[in-house]
């Protein structure tokens, strides 16, 4: 997995998380808690993926 892919993954997770946060707030205000939990879980997963991609990128970037 190259550095470019790590970049791409991180940007995708940002996009996904923005949408998830928006939807989570919408469903919180609409008292649709089932959906809220689902969005929350997706958002946490994608945060985790972002973190992994970042660590991977860091390893590649700072190794000679």
């Amino acid at each position: 997995m190259g550095k470019k892919i790590c970049w791409a993954i991180i940007f995708l997770t940002v996009a996904l998380n923005v949408v998830m946060l928006q939807w989570a707030i919408e469903s919180y205000l609409g008292h649709e808690f089932e959906k809220l939990y689902q969005f929350s879980i997706v958002a946490l997963l994608s945060s985790f993926i972002a973190l992994i991609a970042f660590l991977k990128w860091r390893r590649l970037e700072y190794s000679q």
Partner: protein
């Protein structure tokens, strides 16, 4: 010869010579802070932060007391609310403003009146039989509370009503009754 790899005086930092401005990197700090690596770090951080930001809502939903319990509240005598008029009340608590409308066709419609955009109170527009939020011109369908035009995206919470002995009661509230 021996001075070859030493900077001549006018090129040293703090020199009064104008040339120093051409060889010294005055934006060195910015260049170090705003580079590609720092950008990716900030982006990754933002992604994680956005993801974590959904947690408080879930936590509040889990521990919060959102049970819309059976809760009967008298609103008004039906005879005091002629067709084509409306009255405000609070339901289920004193902090939830609501609007009861007696439509021209004789139906009773009640909604929480806080606009689903930014919580301005909505009004009954008698001529066109719609609910109007004056703040940003949000329109809601009178019959089902769905947003018609303007910024609101969600319907108004519906309040179910019942008429007993000529008195209108609010009995329950439903979110997302689409």
């Amino acid at each position: 010869m021996k001075d070859n790899n030493r900077k001549s005086k006018r090129n040293q930092t703090g020199s009064n010579d104008e040339l120093v401005n051409l060889v010294n990197n005055v934006n060195r700090k910015e260049d170090l802070d705003l580079n590609r690596r720092a950008f990716l770090k900030a982006t990754a951080g933002a992604s994680v932060a956005l993801g974590l930001a959904t947690i408080p809502f879930s936590v509040h939903a889990m521990i919060g007391d959102f049970e819309d319990k059976e809760n009967r509240v008298g609103i008004v005598k039906l005879s005091e609310l002629p067709k084509g008029s409306s009255i405000t009340f609070n339901y289920p608590t004193d902090h939830d403003p609501a609007l009861l409308v007696h439509t021209k066709s004789g139906e009773l419609k009640a909604y929480n009146s806080a606009c689903t955009h930014l919580m301005c109170p909505v009004f009954y527009e008698k001529e066109e039989e719609v609910l109007l939020c004056p703040c940003h011109k949000g329109y809601f369908e009178l019959n089902n509370g769905q947003p018609l035009a303007g910024p609101p995206q969600r319907e108004l919470p519906l309040i179910e009503t019942e008429v007993t002995n000529g008195i209108v009661y609010a009995v329950d509230r439903r979110y997302r009754h689409g």
